[in-house]
Amino acid sequence: MRRISLSGRNGIKRTDIKKEFQHMPVDEIVESLLETREVVMDKKGTAFYLWEAENYLQHILTTDKKFRLLYRKIEELKVILESNLDQKMISPVSLATGYTSQYVLDRPAHDLFQDHRVAIDKDQFERDFRLVLQHNSSTSGWVSLLKIREEMNEKYRVTREDFYSLVEEIANKDYETYELSSGGSEGIILRGLLHGFIRCI
């Protein structure tokens, strides 16, 4: 852990650690550190690197402009919330579109935390989406997207638009896995048609 911490925001290659500590069960130790979230593993170029959690934050702040932007907005939000706690509330829309506090709207404070599409772990979202789809699958395999959204909303609490934007991404990416069908009361618009049903092929 100390070795990883010392590597700072540059992180250290997993293979380098293995070479350095050949006598130790590095994989197991790294695994346990990953589980406790003290350490983060990510790819840089073609190699896997390890960072101390705080250092990783600094690393992605310098390398991922989307994340940097989001982080800055959250920081701004913190300041605005603190200063406006007993006054008007700010809308997540204003945050997402880069507006500042002069664009204050009157949405309730808890809404702020519902618009966190950008912060969602998409891989986890997709795994959960697939699980819910399989769980609700009828004999024909088709499931209403509304039903999936309602079930997933308990965990993700994203807006309807964000939910379907994520589902559209998944369906577009894995078009050989998922099949959409028109109809239903809500879903994705394709060819001008509302597609409210989905299934795994």
Partner: protein, 546 residues
């Protein structure tokens, strides 16, 4: 002249299949669905033979989204060779049936048979009567043909009299026919036989006033069909929905177990869901269908490509185009399919192909090239644009670059050239100085991109401060890595300060790759316009090059 040596455009132009279009059924999934329907008819035939004419009824459901070929399949079954001597198929489109009254429903189902079927049935009934009339005890049968002593004396044969009836030049004796069949057929069945034998301009089924009469008549026709043609009767009901009258009728038909009949119900998943919500009783019956034909994957890329190629082969009188042309079409279909979710549907893709073949013919093109596709798409779908691209890449260029991207060696050098062009463009337009570019990017740039064949490739360049006019860049190391696991994100750059040398890493998704190559081409040919300079600068910025 049409491309690929086609005498005419083989792709249908109508939004729904017409009689000529349905002769061809392409694609593995659609063929499997057809096999299942044929197997159902064969199964019912076997059961009838084994159980000595016992009533057999089968319910089949076909469920899939709009535009996936359900109607095409149903119409194809009505005319296919495999069922021509096994079944008499009626096709009813409920979307054309308003109001959904019993009488309209009944008439539509009767008119759903082709005239050819009734002609065959009429001939079979008259053949049966002729055979019986030739016997010594066939006096009543001879009366049906109006065959008298006078005919015998004149030397007229029963065959001649039958021919006169078939040619609608003579009407059969209805009373005699009723008497002949009164022992073996019910009143409703005799009435149906009278209508069939009495066809002149067209088949006019016996009239009905209520559901009972309708079901009796449908059953009567199925029995007559079995008795005289030894065929199963298939009623195909297309565009089924949750309309109350339709659901009631369907339920009644299922409950009655029409003899030697297959009821094939075609519906969308949405309609199926609606029925589940509105009529649990019918839904339960549909759930217990004997056969459930699922066209899952009917809009998959592979299925659509197969169907497109089959249409072309069909248009060339079953002579396939050569392998390289097939591969070329598959590539183009793949690009359209992947880049435009709007075309991930067999109906839409066939529409594109119809217009493309027409345009290729007008352009006197021997194949479908990217320019023809571009012209077609921009003319029939004027609002359709490539998404996610910075540069305004024409569809034809996108297709061309995507096709060229299969050649990885060529792409490597072009990516290098394009990055250099982007840096030069920024420098030329006063966005940054060359020194700043070098400070920002370090001495090396590592570009990692995903191509159009599913590979991810890494390239590393060294940047050298060349002459005063340009920022030099040269590839010092090239590596392919098919096993890269990282997900590619557009334009993500990281200053890799962990290594001794200062270097930048750029990850490029395939849309940005196309942008890069498109810009690289333009730049090297001095064709970059003012608008494109701004787009290129934005592209370089998105890659964090300056």
């Amino acid at each position: 002249m049409y491309p690929y040596g086609l005498a005419k455009n083989p792709f249908p132009s109508a939004a729904t299949p017409g009689n000529e279009d349905i002769m061809l059924l392409g694609g593995e999934r659609h063929k499997k669905a057809k096999s299942l329907a044929v197997a159902c008819v064969e199964d019912i035939e076997n059961k009838i033979q084994q159980e000595d004419g016992a009533t057999q009824f089968r319910l089949v459901t076909v469920t899939q989204d709009v535009g996936s070929g359900k109607t095409h399949l149903a119409l194809h079954l009505r005319n296919c060779r495999e069922l021509s001597d096994k079944a008499m198929v009626s096709f009813t489109d409920l979307s054309q049936l308003l109001p959904r009254t019993i009488i309209n429903f009944y008439n539509a189902m009767m008119k759903g048979f082709s005239k050819h079927h009734f002609d065959q049935l009429r001939q079979a009934i008259l053949n049966d009567l002729q055979e019986r009339a030739a016997r010594d005890d066939g006096k009543d049968c001879r009366k049906v043909f109006g065959y008298s002593l006078w005919d015998r004396l004149k030397g007229n044969s029963l065959e001649t009299k039958k021919r006169l009836i078939l040619d609608n030049r003579f009407s059969h004796n209805k009373k005699a026919l009723e008497k002949v069949f009164s022992k073996s057929f019910t009143e409703a069945e005799i009435s149906m036989i009278q209508s069939i034998v009495g066809i002149d301009a067209g088949f006019n089924p016996p009239e009905v006033e209520n559901l009972n009469e309708m079901l009796f008549n449908l059953g009567a026709l199925a029995k007559i069909n079995r008795r005289f043609l030894d065929r199963v009767t298939v009623f195909e009901i297309d565009e089924c929905d949750s309309d109350r009258s339709s659901m009631d009728l369907l339920k009644a038909m299922i409950n009655l177990h029409l003899p030697s009949t297959v009821l094939l119900v075609v519906l969308t998943p949405a309609a199926y869901e609606d029925i589940r919500n509105c009529n649990s009783s019918l839904y339960d019956r549909l759930e217990k269908a004997n056969y459930r034909i699922d066209l899952a994957g009917s809009n998959a890329l592979e299925e659509i490509s197969e169907i497109i190629l089959e249409y072309i082969t069909f248009g060339r009188k079953q002579k396939p185009i050569d392998a390289s042309e097939q591969a070329d079409i598959r590539k183009k279909v793949k690009i359209l399919y992947e880049e435009f979710p709007e075309f991930r549907n067999i109906r839409s893709m066939i529409n594109v192909m119809y217009h493309t073949i027409e345009r290729a013919s007008r352009n006197s093109s021997r194949t479908i090239d990217e320019h023809t596709l571009d012209q077609t798409i921009t003319s029939i779908y004027p609002g359709l644009k490539l998404r996610e691209n910075f540069m305004s890449v024409p569809i034809s260029e996108f297709i061309k670059i995507a096709e060229e991207s299969m050649n990885i060696e060529e792409i490597k050098s072009r990516v290098a050239m394009a990055i250099k062009a982007l840096l030069n463009c920024a420098s030329d337009n006063g966005r940054v100085t060359k020194d700043a570019l070098l400070r920002k990017n370090g001495r090396r740039i590592e570009v990692e991109f995903d191509d159009f064949v599913g590979r991810k490739t890494s390239l590393e360049f060294s940047i050298v401060n060349g002459n005063s006019e340009s920022v030099g860049i040269s590839a010092i190391q090239q590596q392919d890595d098919n096993q890269l696991e990282s997900s590619m994100k557009p334009g993500i750059l990281s200053p890799d300060v962990n290594q001794e040398r200062a270097s930048m890493q750029v990850q490029v998704n395939r849309h940005v790759l196309v942008d890069l190559l498109y810009f690289g081409n333009k730049y090297s040919n001095n064709q970059v316009g003012n608008d494109e300079v701004h787009r290129a600068l934005a592209l370089g910025e998105s890659l964090n090059l300056y």
